[in-house]
Amino acid sequence: MSEGLTPSQTVGPFLGMGLPWPDGPYVVAEGTPGAITISGRLFDGAGDPVPDGLIETWQADPAGRFDHPDDPRGAPAGGTRFRAFGRCPTAEDGSYRIITLRPGALPSPDGGPEAPHLDVSVLARGLLDRVVTRIYFADQAAANAADPVLASIADEARRATLIAAAEPGDGDSYRFDIRLQGAGETVFFDV
């Protein structure tokens, strides 16, 4: 039912006043055991960086659980609450960075298990509504191959836009660029 829904409008160029938080990129504190870093850049259709955007992430905890009453499996075990939400404004060069924990795989009601992923909202001047994408991980090849969302994208090159590459080095850093339009355009979802 969409009767009476409030329409979306752009965040405009001054979103940096109202939306970023000092602790936004830190879903967990830097140095937390098991922490990973996802970083990348946001580009427009001319290949130029988007300096007035905001990246928001939402994900399961490492056990694949959500601290949320609508997860029918109940509350996650353990004590400390995992915020599971990250937000980072893009810098002049379009870059953003999120420090978080690896999400776990998820059961799904209508098919195979979902591979570890984060849901992403991209907000920017020039976007009249958020656009939604997902971040999967290149080192989860077997899980990705069985993922129902990835499987729904027939074109392999387009599917690849959803996979964060492992950065050389410590194995805890991933790169995920987002291209709003044109060559290499990221897959965006109707959620």
């Binding site: 039912m1 969409s2 009476g4 829904l5 409030t6 329409p7 979306s8 409008q9 752009t10 965040v11 160029p13 979103l15 940096g16 006043m17 109202g18 939306l19 427009d44 259709g45 988007v50 939402w58 399961a60 959500f66 601290d67 949320h68 609508d70 997860d71 029918p72 499996r73 599971a84 939400f85 998820l106 059961p107 799904s108 009601p109 209508d110 979902e114 992923h117 984060l118 849901d119 909202s121 907000l123 920017a124 001047r125 020039g126 976007l127 009249l128 509504d129 958020r130 656009v131 969302v149 729904s152 994208i153 709003l180 339009q181 355009e185 897959v187 965006f188 979802f189 109707d190 959620v191």
Partner: protein, 246 residues
């Protein structure tokens, strides 16, 4: 609560907005969409666990002072003091309690406290134009602020934005995330604004315009405007939701 095996995962579903409610991403009248609107069609994402959950951000992100934008500095800001109040609901009519709202706006002269804003109108040292609030148990919110001014922008010759306040809402599920703009009644700039008019449905557009309320106006102090925000619902009445999936 019992633990269901994966095959028994019954999840709420948030039906998508009908045509005309949200602006098309490609809206040529708003020039900045030209290089930023995706060209490929959106891929349908069936709603599963990640989509029907979401950040439950509330009181820990806000202090009581955050909802009064007129008291964030030693002096009072210039301009017309106003109250902006209303409820956050879902489209089934259910209030959304304990949910975070974030707002930002220009000052009374139409100038944002932001380095990118070069409009030659004065900054107000007593007004930052940023606020936060959490809805109460009935989904109500209330801000005290200054009526923002209109301001020119570079979209086309003699382009001016109608006065507005930016609003960001989370609801309780990823599907409900919404960022929008609240406008004021009878703004003469509505017919000329490509952002406001990017919403195809005339009735939907009108839902972004707050209403003046003499009843909520505080005598000798501040005019009041009311504005309800409606996020996507699950298409169930509250009774069905209680009785149903879980």
């Amino acid at each position: 609560m019992t633990t269901h095996p994966p095959t028994d995962l019954r999840l709420p579903n948030y039906p998508r907005a009908g045509r005309g409610v949200h602006p098309p991403l490609d809206s040529p009248g708003y020039r900045s969409t030209e290089l930023r609107a995706p060209h490929q069609p959106l891929v349908l994402l069936p709603q599963r666990l990640t989509e029907i959950t979401g950040p439950l951000l509330g009181p820990e992100r806000v202090t009581a002072a955050d909802a009064d934008l007129t008291r964030q500095h030693p002096g009072e800001p210039l301009g017309e003091r106003i109250i902006v109040t209303g409820r956050v609901l879902d489209s089934d009519g259910r209030p959304i309690p304990d949910t975070l709202l974030e707002v930002w706006q220009a000052n009374a002269a139409g100038r944002y406290h932001h380095k990118v804003d070069q409009h030659p109108a004065p900054l107000d040292p007593n007004f930052s134009g940023v606020g936060r609030a959490v809805t109460d148990s009935a989904g109500r919110y209330r801000f005290i602020t200054i009526k923002p001014g209109s301001y020119p922008w570079g979209n086309h010759y003699n382009a001016w934005r109608p006065a507005h306040i930016h609003f960001s809402m989370f609801g309780r599920a990823f599907t409900q995330r919404l960022v929008t703009q609240m406008y004021f009644p009878d703004d003469p700039l509505f017919p000329y604004d490509p952002i406001f008019n990017s919403i195809p449905d005339e009735k939907a557009r009108q839902r972004l315009i707050s209403k003046f309320s003499i009843d909520l106006t505080e005598p000798d102090w501040a005019l009041a405007y009311t504005w309800d925000i409606v996020l996507r619902g699950t298409g169930q009445t509250p009774f069905e939701a209680q009785d149903g999936a879980r």
